[in-house]
């Protein structure tokens, strides 16, 4: 190949040294951690409040309650009517929304900078004064959201793969919850969930944008410091027991989608194996140059797409490989190809170029992620929710340190027959 340089990208690391991601941390007396990143490239601010509660904190019979509560936080407070929060943000020219995951529930806004104090005031208000109007109507909305998942082979596939991969841990339940649980959750349950988990000492705030850090923290203190901390936040002590052998599940769904998923348990966030696992996922199925794409999609023509990623969570995570098969492809053939490639990683040479591609992509994406103040907010939030934001500062250097033997080690340690979970989704052709 002509003019092909195998250069390691170093620029993103230099950017960090130059002061990009120059985050300032403050800790309020009531336990609220505040992270501020000045970015004066555009006269806007992104604000995120992340509560450390998600589906991992849910009990049997109450699955989906964290996500339902997220919806209810838009239903007003003593001061604000239903949806008024969002209407005020929109009137500023801003945008807001929220999301719930296995580990967190996060509320975010992006708005013109002059409105910073108003938005803070509203977020402080809804941390403590929600009144939960229109509960039954909103529950119906969430049930419609769940039906959207049920109608999509994609939605069903991911739900089943998680259910297969965990036996004990609440991660086995979908974030949106099971339908019967949604039907049974009461307003009282939601209020209790709010009281238990929504407090300054169970949350953190991230501000990114065109504001002076000192001014920002002074306003944050003014609106948040008086909110009392919660006395005790229940810990999640569930530990997924070691898997005792391969598990397989076969499901069928009307349509034309044929999918194969393979999930392996991996350690919780903060493990030294986390970054090698992410790079291994890239080498196996990260893009069109990855081993599985080349073999299964490009060379053999068995599938239309393939993806792999390491899903790092507070507790035990998953290393996932997902493949969209062509209708006439055989599950066995595709599975054999995947397992062969995994064995090759363990036993054969991993080219320097494969590692380099993964590292360079991760680093370049790190630069691109700073285009938007909301994306920066999410990057910081994800780091903080899992293992502390400071890991962000050394992340790229840690990526650079990963070597071939690290990939082999994690492949040998985690991608094993006895711990794998395999899901087959077979289409049922619609009857005319």
């Amino acid at each position: 190949m002509k003019d092909f340089s195998l250069a390691l990208i170093i620029l993103p690391i230099l950017l960090i040294q130059k002061g990009y991601y120059n985050i300032k941390e403050y800790n309020l007396k009531n336990g609220l951690k505040v992270l501020i990143l000045e970015d004066h490239s555009s006269p806007i601010i992104s604000l995120g409040i992340w509560y450390r509660v998600g589906s991992r904190n849910e009990l049997p019979g109450k699955t989906g309650i964290s996500h339902l509560l997220e919806h209810m936080l838009f239903k007003g407070t003593k001061k604000l009517s239903s949806e008024e929060f969002s209407k005020i943000i929109q009137k500023m020219g801003g945008v807001d929304n929220a999301f719930t995951s296995n580990d967190v529930t996060a509320y975010w806004e992006v708005f013109p900078k002059d409105n910073f104090e108003k938005v803070l005031e509203m977020e402080a208000d809804r941390m403590q004064n929600c009144v939960f109007r229109e509960f039954e109507e909103e529950k119906k909305v969430v049930m419609e959201e769940r039906r959207l998942h049920e109608n999509s082979p994609e939605g069903v596939f991911w739900e089943e793969l998680e259910a297969l991969s965990y036996k004990v841990h609440p991660y086995k339940n979908p974030v949106i919850g099971w339908m019967s649980d949604l039907e049974n959750i009461t307003l009282e349950d939601v209020k209790n969930h709010y009281k238990t988990y929504y407090s300054p000492n169970n949350s953190f705030m991230i501000v990114v944008g065109d504001i002076d850090e000192k001014k920002a923290i002074s306003l944050i203190k003014k609106h948040f410091e008086k909110i009392p901390k919660a006395k005790k936040i229940p810990a999640v002590n569930v530990k997924e027991p070691p898997q005792m052998g391969e598990k397989r599940a076969y499901i069928k769904k009307e349509g034309f989608a044929k999918k194969l998923g393979i999930a392996y348990p991996i350690p919780e966030a903060g493990s030294p194996d986390e970054i090698p696992l992410s790079i291994l996922a890239y080498v196996l199925g990260g893009d069109k140059t990855s081993r599985l794409y080349k073999k299964i999609v490009y060379e053999k023509g068995f599938a239309t797409s393939v993806g792999a990623y390491a899903d790092i969570r507070i507790d035990q995570g998953l290393f996932v490989i997902a493949i969209d098969l062509k209708m006439n492809s055989s599950f066995d053939e595709v599975l054999n190809e995947v397992l062969n490639e995994i064995e090759k990683i363990k036993k054969e040479k991993i080219e320097e170029k494969e590692l380099l591609k993964a590292k360079n992509q991760i680093k370049a994406n790190f630069v691109y992620s700073q285009e938007s103040i909301l994306r920066q907010n999410f990057v910081i939030g994800r780091f903080e929710s899992l293992k502390g934001w400071k890991k962000l500062l050394t992340y790229l250097e840690d990526v650079d340190k990963v070597k071939e033997e690290d990939l082999k080690r994690v492949a040998n340690n985690y991608l094993n027959e006895n711990s794998r979970n395999i899901l087959f989704l077979e289409p049922i052709l619609p009857q005319k």
């Binding site: 209407k87 109507e137 419609e144 034309f256």
Partner: protein, 443 residues
């Protein structure tokens, strides 16, 4: 008025130039990060696919990356990956784009590879067969998703026999009819610099950016042809209800008709009206009536997709439990009726506030700026039209906004597509008379 005018900056950071080979080039300097985004747009899209070979424009674009005279497909992908360069392409009915986002230090190399892809594709038979097969299988699989099915069928019945009546990817049968020679001919005819626009946004001066584009994309190329003239599609007449069966537990409701041209002088009035009607998320009437008050849907709203010179589509959509279907449709008809009669001062004030404040948010990223500039050139809009739009929106009167509702919301000539489990659903929308109902048997 205090509108954010950061991007205009006296025009000092922007330049438009036509290169010697005819490529219109727009360059915009943005310093925030050491990176560039470059989009190369061909003024040809899926509306120009020959009849029976729908999907040709999309297949042509997707073949560009599959190898050049210097590089194989995998070599191209490898080189981009090593450089940390993001590569993308897309096809719409009226134009197609291909581009990169790259670190500044790798911009020359990334642009050189892109230039090779665009100007020297090899169109190998083996790659063509693989890609066609992959796309056919992708389409078959997507037919399991009710939202994809809704999009295909709504487009088909809204535009009927017009060339806009298919999605860019075509369908499995039309793709089977396409030969490699069709791709090569389509490429030679239409994928020429004279029929294209280059937009570059990056951390260099506009002159330096233009020079970069000129260096890699300024070469002469064989003359092609201008896309053929296509007649305007016919407007729907009457209330047309199409029902399609899928074994699902909701109804996917898509309603709508044609909307204004992007270039229309009414466009901003329609935007404001639509924001109030169904486009303004939490602030819209449809959200309030369908989601908040009744709990009928998770996602409900209305939007306009423009395809100048052809009329836009103006669509209202939601997904709801099957038993709510008829009432949800009735509510939409009622809301159309209401907005033609009355809009509150507060709604207009809030909407103007939204547009006044939203500029820095929609011109924040390199990609957003590049896309805005591309739309400016494609639709022949004024320079920095997004700022002028906001100024115009601030001046709109209630009368003009209500007039836009009267002119562009047409419940008497409308398509209503319902993808649902037909064993559990029967059309029975109270108060809607003279309806043409058809059960769609064939996808």
């Amino acid at each position: 008025m205090g509108i954010f005018l950061g991007i205009l900056n006296g025009g000092m950071n922007y330049k438009r130039e036509v290169l010697k080979n005819g490529l219109i080039t727009l360059a915009y300097e943005k310093e925030k990060l050491p990176m560039i985004t470059f989009i190369y747009a061909f003024k040809i899209g899926s509306a120009y696919d020959p009849k029976g070979k729908e999907g040709l424009a999309n297949l042509t674009i997707s073949m560009l990356e599959k190898g050049t005279k210097k590089r194989s497909y995998m070599e191209i992908m490898e080189e981009f990956a090593i450089l940390g360069t993001k590569f993308f392409y897309d096809v719409s009915p009226t134009f197609s784009t291909i581009g990169i986002t790259s670190l500044l230090e790798n911009a020359p190399k990334s642009l050189e590879i892109l230039s090779d892809i665009i100007y020297n594709p090899e169109f190998k038979e083996e790659e063509f067969k693989k890609e066609k097969e992959r796309l056919i299988n992708r389409i078959i699989s997507d037919k399991s998703e009710p939202d994809y099915v809704s999009e295909v069928l709504f487009t088909k019945y809204l535009y009927k026999d017009h060339p806009l009546s298919h999605l860019p990817e075509g369908d499995e049968n039309s793709l089977k009819n396409i030969e490699l020679s069709d791709v090569i001919e389509f490429y030679k005819k239409y994928f020429t610099p004279k029929n294209s626009i280059g937009v570059i946004v990056g951390a260099k001066s506009p002159d330096e950016l233009i020079n970069l584009v000129d260096k890699y994309f300024g070469k002469e190329k064989e003359e092609g042809e201008l896309p053929p003239q296509i007649e305007m599609p016919e407007r729907l007449k009457g209330i047309n209800v199409k029902i399609y069966h899928m074994k699902i537990n909701q109804s996917y409701i898509t309603m709508g008709h044609f909307g204004p041209l992007r270039k229309s002088s009414d466009f901003n009035a329609v935007r404001v009206m639509n924001y109030i009607f169904g486009g303004g998320s939490f602030s819209s009437r449809l959200f309030e009536e369908i989601r908040n008050k009744r709990g009928y849907a998770y996602s409900v709203g209305s939007y306009i997709s423009t395809f100048d010179p052809f009329p836009s589509t103006y669509i209202f959509e939601l997904q709801t439990k099957i038993e709510n279907t008829n009432d949800a449709i009735k509510v939409i008809f009622e809301e159309i009726d209401k907005i033609k009669k009355e809009i509150k001062d507060k709604e207009i004030e809030d909407t103007k506030g939204y547009f006044k404040g939203y500029l820095p948010r929609v011109t924040e990223t390199y990609t957003q700026i590049a896309n805005n500039l591309l739309i400016q050139e494609l639709y022949n809009l004024p320079e920095f039209f997004w700022e002028k739009d906001v100024e115009e929106i601030q001046k709109l009167t209630k009368k003009e906004i209500i007039e836009a509702a009267k002119k562009y919301l047409d419940p008497e000539n409308i398509l209503i597509l319902i993808v649902t489990d037909t064993s559990k659903y029967k059309w029975d929308v109270k108060g809607i008379e003279n309806v043409n109902i058809e059960n769609i048997e064939k996808f």
